[in-house]
């Protein structure tokens, strides 16, 4: 094989010598036309450096055409036409490859941006849901607290009301007892007699006359009964509430008579009759309790 290279080289040298023959037609219109197409490529600085090998091949083919002998001219023209077109297309191909690379990069950037936005969107959505959940939780907590506060307030108000009421009634009761106590002392001083024992039954003050206040088996008051009635009358003139007199006996008539007797005694001692009601109660009278004088609240 290596033996043949000298022959090839010699052939190429011959071809080169052929090409090197001075151009027979420098103003050949085909050469000028093709030259113009090549120069157009060179005129654009963006394109001038693309496909340098193909552009060089085209220039060589053009030089060969310019230098071609008459007989070889059609062949040289064919090749030059082809090579110029190849150079033009190769330049366009390389420019398109560069554009493709630029678009690839742009696409990558955009895909990145898209995924970045998607991530951002997802993050925002998650945040929105989180806030929504938080708002709901807060609202539920607020409602719960409000309900609790309302319940507490109600309880407190009820307690406060209850306290106030009981305090009030206690105060009232204490005042009333104090007032009764003072009235009793005054009555005993005024009448010079001892009042029968008194107690409070609810808001009513109840004086209890013992069995000794009446003559045994009779409706009339005994001496101690009369003293008690005098003291009670004095008291009832100070404490001007209405009074209910009630006497007990198994015998309804006797009970009524005893109640009436006590009422009479009070009226005679100066208590207005209209304030006093008398009633006999059928029931056993005891040594401690034969009659009661109930002062209305």
């Amino acid at each position: 094989m290596s033996r043949r290279f000298p022959c090839v080289r010699a052939g190429l040298l011959g071809l080169a010598l052929l090409v090197a023959v001075p151009a027979p037609a420098a103003d050949d219109p085909d050469v000028l036309r093709l030259q113009a197409r090549l120069e157009a490529l060179q005129a654009d600085p963006d394109v001038a450096r693309l496909a340098p090998f193909e552009q060089m091949q085209a220039r060589e083919a053009l030089a060969a055409l310019a230098a071609a002998r008459r007989a070889a001219r059609p062949e040289a023209l064919y090749l030059a036409e082809r090579r110029v077109e190849i150079a033009e297309l190769a330049v366009r191909t390389e420019a398109a490859r560069q554009e493709l690379a630029r678009l690839d990069q742009r696409r990558t950037e955009l895909l990145l941006e898209a995924s970045r936005r998607e991530a951002e969107e997802a993050r925002r959505e998650a945040e929105r849901l989180r806030i929504q959940a938080q708002i709901q939780a807060e609202e539920a907590e607020r409602l719960r607290l409000a309900a609790e506060a309302e319940a507490a307030a109600r309880t407190e108000a009820e307690q406060a009301l209850g306290k106030a009421a009981s305090r009030q009634s206690a105060q009232l009761s204490a005042a009333r007892r104090k007032e009764a106590e003072l009235a009793r002392q005054e009555a005993e001083l005024v009448s010079g007699k001892k009042l029968p024992p008194a107690r409070f039954d609810g808001q009513s003050e109840v004086f209890t006359l013992p069995g000794s206040a009446y003559a045994a088996g009779k409706g009339a008051l005994s001496a101690s009964g009369k003293d008690a009635a005098a003291a009670l009358a004095a008291y009832l003139q100070i404490n001007t509430r209405n009074v209910r007199v009630q006497a007990w006996s198994q015998d309804a008539k006797l009970a009524q008579a005893r109640a009436q007797a006590l009422r009479e005694a009070l009226v005679q001692a100066g208590v207005p009759a209209a304030r006093i009601k008398a009633e006999g109660r059928s029931g056993p009278a005891s040594a401690q309790r034969a009659a009661e004088v109930v002062v209305a609240p």
Partner: protein, 133 residues
């Protein structure tokens, strides 16, 4: 029995004659014409560049011209053998052009597809479509 007729031939001449005998094979002949080798390579490159699809007529022309060149190289006629090199140059130029056309068509299709993709992406992202460059 003996070979007295060749005895006086120098060894070198023997080798040359032997080479000439081998030269009848196509390979040896195409190797003798470097333009043919280059044309063959150009056709192969054009085929690899899918020119059968994008520039079928031109590639076919290149193949036919290459076959003519190969045939010419094998010809017994010296005048025809001289035709082999220019024919090979033609075939090479045709194959190169077919290849470049095919490459350009493919790259331009790829550019168009990529541009559409980029435009679509820009639209999806709410960006203004890029001006033609």
């Amino acid at each position: 029995m003996n070979d007295p007729s060749f005895a006086y031939f120098p060894r070198r001449l023997c080798a040359l004659l032997l080479a000439s005998g081998l030269a009848v094979t196509a390979h040896a002949q195409t190797a003798a014409v470097p333009e043919l080798q280059r044309a063959e390579q150009a056709v192969v490159k054009a085929q690899r560049a899918d020119a059968d699809h994008y520039a079928p007529d031109l590639l076919e022309l290149a193949r036919q011209t290459l076959v003519q060149a190969q045939t010419a190289a094998l010809s017994s006629s010296r005048r025809e053998r001289r035709e082999a090199a220019p024919l090979a140059l033609r075939a090479e130029a045709d194959a190169d052009l077919a290849r470049v056309r095919s490459e350009l068509a493919q790259v331009e299709a790829a550019v168009q597809a990529r541009r559409n993709e980029v435009d679509e992406l820009r639209q999806r992202l709410g960006l203004a479509t890029e001006g033609a460059r």
